[in-house]
Amino acid sequence: MKSSERDRLFELVANPPPGSKIEAAKKYGVDLTVNVRRLLLTPTERVREIEAALRFAEDLQTAMDQMSK
């Protein structure tokens, strides 16, 4: 994705057309800036991010479990 395309998407997220799905998602509370950033990644990079996030979440839960023992 080119820099200009990225900026166009960010502009859409920052100022979504009234009544659009983007506006609805934003009002609902979805942080679309994350989605836009992930669109810049390859599918492999996205999977790696998910794996890293999962590892972190599991480590967190393990830390909490150990605290309550």
Binding site: R37, F56, Q61
Partner: protein, 163 residues
Amino acid sequence: MIDYGTTLKVLIIADVNFVMVGGYAAVAHGAEIVVHQCLELCYERTPENVKRLATALAPYHPQRRDALEAISFVLDDRALLQGMNFKLQTDLGDIDLIGQLPGLGEFREVARDSLAVNFHGVSIRVASLDAIIRSKRASGRGKDLNALPELEALKQLRDSGKK
């Protein structure tokens, strides 16, 4: 690449005062793991702390996620004190720095209702489940309100286990 474990260690080593809030704090309390989320940190807005925070994150090239690429942004103590909440993209992943949380307030109030957790040898503060619930209820956004049934059920399960 996402490495939130390193993010936490870097901040603790730099003596930054923060509390983990939001989705990962909920995950820490046992909520369903949602991997598409940022690391949300409520930071203390004192001049000394924001300086430590900016210095600690600087090597990881923090940039605003919600700004056009052409707009240059430098995360320093002045920028942090002029704003309140920051959606950042860094080499360690997406980090939201939150100065004030709905229903809770600023760092001091959030820290008062948090617990210390030993995470890989460093002590981090995580918002309590009660605090997360209050904040999500106060935000009033659909996404946060939809998370409440699970969090409130978790709280009831946890409280039942204590009896």
